[in-house]
């Protein structure tokens, strides 16, 4: 399969006051693949996602989504592009005065003409898939942090998006739940063939899911490699990241 990028960041820079957060980010997200963005806390991973979503405008550089410069398109085009998105924010951003059911049903009600019975069916199916069925009538404030994340995931997936952005989907979940979520991801991805951009701290487990791993460090994407290449890389920054997160797995020969 020929790979072509659906999202491309070219020399994206962004500062907040004196703080330079992104210092020339270059990244290509390949169609149908899962790209995982890793990096320390506060490095700007969520900022990269927000740039791609068109919520934040870069100071310089360009963000191309489906071949269009996202900060320059008209509002109508932007809306058109966003119909392909499924987004999970880091804080889940559920509508807090709506029940769980209404939260997940909202995209269906506003964007499709689906009748109410069918909506109920789809919503319950997605909630069951995320293992949060039976919370339909609760409000987000009445859920645990991990449950909120999973409702957010159900909402992001409800319209079968072409490209998904998940900001830390498994943070706050226990190991069994996050394994289950990963299984759901790989199953739905083979079903729907979507492109995925996942920000995660769950190294190395997330590597099993990834086609590419991108390390953000010091405001720059240090490298975007396959998980195997990533773990074996000689680049000192990557090596240090791999060693601190996974332990010195590959230096065992030297210790013998």
């Amino acid at each position: 399969m020929s790979e072509r990028p659906v999202v491309q960041l070219i020399d994206v820079r962004k500062s907040y006051g004196a703080q330079q957060v992104l210092k020339g980010v270059n990244l290509a997200i390949m169609e149908g693949k899962t790209t995982v963005i890793v990096g320390g806390s506060g490095q700007g991973k969520s900022q990269i996602i927000k740039h791609i979503l068109g919520l934040v405008r870069p100071d310089s550089g360009s963000v191309m989504v489906f071949g269009k410069e996202i900060s320059r398109v008209s509002m109508r085009e932007l809306k058109e592009i966003r119909t392909n998105f499924g987004v999970l924010f880091q804080n889940a951003a559920l509508f807090d005065s709506m029940t769980v059911f209404d939260n997940v049903a909202l995209p269906l009600r506003e964007r499709t003409k689906m009748p109410e019975e069918e909506i109920a069916k789809v919503v319950n199916e997605k909630l069951a898939m995320m293992d949060v069925e039976g919370t339909n009538d609760k409000y987000p404030a009445q859920l645990s942090g991990g449950m909120r994340k999973r409702v957010g995931l159900a909402r992001a997936l409800v319209l079968d998006p072409k490209i998904i952005f998940f900001d830390e989907p498994t943070t706050g979940l226990d190991v069994a739940k996050s394994n289950e979520i990963y299984r759901v991801f790989s199953r739905t991805q083979t079903q729907l063939g979507y492109t995925a951009v996942i920000v995660s701290h769950d190294v190395p487990k997330i590597f099993k899911l990834a086609d590419y791993v991108a390390l953000l460090h010091d405001g720059v994407i240090q490298a975007c490699l396959t998980p195997e290449e990533f773990q074996l890389s000689d680049d000192p920054v990557i090596k240090e990241f791999v060693e601190t997160t996974m332990g010195p797995l590959y230096s065992s020969e030297m210790e013998v």
Binding site: L55, R82, V87, F89, N91, F95, L106, P107, E110
Partner: protein, 262 residues
């Protein structure tokens, strides 16, 4: 000394910016009202929140405004021996001025502040961003029903205010102070013209738009507010601003509308 010019300059730019984005906000919201699909249920819900829930306050303030008008009017008019005009004096002040203005001020305090806080919280908790990313237009989804409801509710609330006020004036003027019962209504019937009612109606319509516009756009742009629009404090500050600004603009616009419509 340059500092002072810097400060004046940046403040000016900030306010020009703010007026600009509020203008664009109004434009988008009005356009989104016209654009299909039209959903009735959200509008009914908002009419309930903005209108129905304000009725008690409107009844209360309307009654007392009418009563004090009856009291003041009777004492002033009787100095000239013109108690017979009490009815038209009460009705005209209510219909042309006090009804629209006071009803709008009450709605600002009750519903305007609530709208601003609601939208402000949605903004700072990224719910508006989430809507945007789902390709659901927040103007269409959140603002349009509120605007329509404001434009529907305010004239109705004003009408209730006027009627209750006139009855309050009757209660005090005729019931307590002994003005003539027949002339109270007949003078009103003679002196109140269609133009007066039209003026009151137009005013209440404009005020409805004004309240929703200012309160919802203030909340919508809480994150761009000068001096930091962060968290609970940011929302509370912007809500106060919205209520003050809409109250002031109601009085300001009242003057201009009166001079245009007279």
């Amino acid at each position: 000394m340059l500092g002072i010019f810097d400060r004046i300059g940046s403040a000016t730019l900030y306010y020009i910016n703010e007026v600009g984005r509020m203008g664009i906000f109004l434009f988008h919201s009005l356009v989104s009202i016209i654009r299909p699909p039209y959903k009735v249920w959200p509008v009914i819900r908002q009419v309930y929140i903005i209108g129905t829930l304000s009725i008690f306050v409107i009844l209360f303030t309307g009654a007392f405004t009418g009563m004090v008008l009856g009291l003041q009017g009777y004492h002033t008019l009787s100095k000239f021996g013109a108690e017979g005009l009490l009815g038209s004096a009460v009705a005209l002040s209510l219909i042309r001025e006090l009804g629209p203005v006071l009803a709008a001020l009450m709605v600002t305090g009750r519903a305007g502040s609530a709208i601003c806080a609601e939208i402000g919280v949605m903004r700072i908790s990224e719910q508006i961003d989430a809507l945007d990313c789902m390709a659901i237009d927040p103007h269409k989804y959140i603002m349009a029903p509120k605007f329509v409801a404001g434009i529907i509710s305010l004239p109705l609330l004003t009408a209730i205010f006027d009627v209750i006020g006139i009855l309050g004036g009757y209660l005090v003027g005729v019931g307590l102070l002994g003005a003539n019962e027949g002339t109270y209504f007949s003078s009103m019937y003679k002196d109140v013209e269609f133009n007066d009612v039209y003026m009151g109606f137009m005013k209440s319509l404009c005020f409805g738009l004004l309240i929703i516009w200012i309160c919802s756009s203030k909340g919508f742009f809480v994150h761009l507010t000068k001096g930091g629009g962060f968290g609970a404090e940011g929302v509370s500050r912007v809500t106060t601003n919205a209520v003050v600004l809409s109250s002031v603009s109601i009085l300001l616009f009242d003057y201009f509308l009166t001079s245009i419509l007279l």
